[in-house]
Symmetry: C2
Subunit: 138 residues, 2 copies
């Protein structure tokens, strides 16, 4: 990683009715809505092989998170003891990457309808990966 | 993501006997070895709550990958038709992030013995997350 500063470039963006952290459930399976993933049109060739019904992991850059936090109260519950960020899924962490396992509902040109997903409207997307079968399933 | 160029900063590095892509299996469950994850000592507080036996997802930055590739032959098998990189786990992709589900074998100060993992020696680590239980399991 040259110069300790690799640049991560958005490949797309989440379009969701969730606008603030207060509106978002903590995990997608906790009542999150479907959303659109708008992929940069120049990257459409990368979608070949995905289709409605595909299980994917969407990797986001949680751009509203804090990067200087190492300990948090799990699920923001102050009655729970502080845990290291690497033992939680809290968005605040040195590199605020989010992992979201979702189903592809449909694909319309460069837009994927996906869900359920708790990511906020405007969140940059940095990668898409298929879910693997078997023991290594993400 | 200001200026479209968020910087991702390594939080640690993989120390493995795998030195080249040719030596590495395609996925950790395909005969990969255990390895050490050396966390930056300044981030040790982030580990509180992890222990031997923890299931975690290690996120790496695959620094030897190509970022200008959108289609690949799955598993580098040229008899298989080209697929979009977002439909494969190939390391070559616009943001070469790797997801590795591993077990923590033990923790010695800032070093975690983990495995099995197919990441190469020297690969930067950019995040660590716990595996969630239930349907959202990564």
């Amino acid at each position: 990683m040259k110069g300790q500063r690799a640049r991560i470039r958005p490949i797309g963006v989440i379009r969701s009715r969730l606008k603030t952290r207060g509106q978002a459930p903590r995990q997608g399976v906790e009542g999150a809505p479907d959303a659109w993933l708008e992929l940069s049109p120049s990257l459409m060739a990368g979608l070949v092989g995905l289709a409605a019904g595909s299980q994917i992991v969407v990797v986001t850059w949680l751009d509203r998170a804090r990067r200087d936090v190492l300990r948090v109260h799990p699920r923001s519950d102050r009655s729970r003891p502080l845990a290291g960020v690497f033992a939680t899924r809290a968005p605040d962490r040195p590199n605020p990457l989010g992992l979201h396992r979702v189903t592809v509902r449909r694909i319309v040109k460069n837009r994927l309808r996906i869900g359920p997903i708790e990511a906020l409207d405007g969140t940059p997307v940095v990668d898409i990966k298929p879910v693997l079968g078997g023991a290594a399933d993400f």
